[in-house]
Assembly symmetry: C2
Homo-oligomer: 288 residues x 2
């Protein structure tokens, strides 16, 4: 069983993939379409792709691959907290640091720590956090630090000077696991699908959502993507609780099929235990 | 009356702004937040921001500014077809071109033309299409071409070698006009709003959409964005036909207010005549 992920090793995608497989069964690819092709052609048994971040929102490349480009199914979901670490070569102290390097996104996500603990230090953009850590960990410059994952520090021999330097501690990325088949029912499942409504009939979308409400199926997500035809033609994406083989879910799917000009069921899979992840990140502090 | 847009001059944003004002009344800013601040502080009377593209989808920066950061209203909408032009310095012929430069996005959008008419020609990335046209138009190298707008060719003195070199002719970007007040009713209006539902009650979203269906108000768009709290908490964004001062719309807004933990009405504004734009781009060819 091999699991494909977006490389290089030491990224959040690898952290997610490590929730599915041990590191010797992971294989890195360099793009989202490559991950899909890897599973379609048997180079890997499954692939882990980010689909949503709690601050940035949907990962539209992944949604568009699912809608337009592959018959692969969603066989699982994973959630990984976005935790950033300040990493140097061994022996470098905070006072020595003159340059911090990372992907541009972590700079925005660690602004408070950088302002407070590394004021005025030059920030240099890198192509990936893992690349930045690798470069810094093997540098003998003595004045460089990177922002990256704990896993990258471990892989490339860096020293962690500070942990959890991100401004927002509840920032989480959700991943989907794509495979040739989805997952059997476990009693605590979710189903994801995409559809287009027939023409622009007033209330057409509402009529479809009403079918879920009638069966008291809780929708956990609704998203829209352009159909890539004309402006204003959308594909809707819905996640809801239940397995496609559950009786109530099967009834809804039967009823909405005739109301849709396109219906693609991405699959049913066990729900990730987000509540326990939240308790571990944010003990005793409800966000709302 | 001054209209702010995302510079430099010669971009699609300037084309959209020119539908609102003549060029002497336009003022360029360098970021989306700067456009918002310009109107909030009186540096400009209104600002034009892209909100949606028919292939790429929502412009999340604009949505998040509207949800979280400004009390400005949407006072209008505009749609501009994405038309790309091959531009050189005067006197350069197609056979002379050895290098094409542009923003990375147009290279992807003009792949067919480039493969057919400029096979094997080196592609060099630039920060903006307008910057690429400016550089090429003033170059005396004799072997360079840029991909950009007709407006950029005019502004920077370039020569158009080929027009409409984009692969997809129905690619359109929609812009919103932000101002301190929204627009009075015209009889053919749209309203945009954002809301959060109270807790995760099954069917809570459906109950809200049902209120629109009861009054047969046609929803033209539904979108979700993360609330930036915990994963799975969303802000929903809806566009629908009608003005907020119309009786039916006012009734729906009253009824949904109590079901929402947040309700923000972005404004009502005249509907852009998309059908006539479509007829001009794509005569006699329905897309669906």
């Amino acid at each position: 069983m091999t699991t494909a992920f977006l490389g290089p090793p030491g990224t959040f995608s690898e952290e997610a993939a490590l929730l599915r497989a041990t590191s010797e069964n992971l294989v890195a690819f360099s793009s989202f379409p490559a991950l899909v092709s890897a599973v379609e052609t048997g180079l890997a048994d499954e692939a882990v792709l980010p689909i949503e971040n709690s601050i940035e929102g949907a990962v539209s490349t992944t949604l568009d691959l699912l809608i337009h480009e592959t018959a692969l199914r969603i066989a699982g979901e994973l959630a990984v907290p976005v935790r950033h670490f300040l990493i140097t070569a061994p022996g470098v102290r905070l006072a020595d640091v003159r340059v911090v390097t990372s992907h541009p996104q972590p700079f925005g996500q660690c602004r408070r720590f950088l302002d407070r603990c590394l004021p005025g230090v030059e920030q240099v953009a890198a192509l990936s956090t893992a690349g930045a850590v690798q470069e810094v960990a093997s540098s003998d410059d003595g004045h460089r630090a990177a922002i990256g994952t704990a896993r990258a520090a471990e892989l490339y021999g860096g020293t962690i000077l500070a942990h959890d330097i991100q401004d927002v501690h509840t920032n989480v990325t959700r991943f989907v696991v794509l495979a040739s088949e989805d997952a059997p029912p476990t009693g605590d499942d979710k189903t994801s699908l995409a559809f287009r409504v027939r023409e622009n009939v007033p209330g057409a979308l509402h009529d479809i959502l009403a079918e879920f409400a009638v069966e008291t199926l809780q929708m956990t997500k609704i998203e829209s993507r352009p159909s890539k035809g004309w402006l204003g033609d959308y594909v809707f994406l819905i996640d809801f609780e239940g397995h496609r083989r559950d009786e109530r879910v099967a009834r809804v799917l039967d009823r909405i099929r005739e109301r849709c000009s396109m219906l693609k069921i991405f699959g049913s899979y066990p729900r990730f235990p987000l509540d326990s992840l939240r308790a571990s990140i944010d003990p005793g502090q409800p966000i709302d």
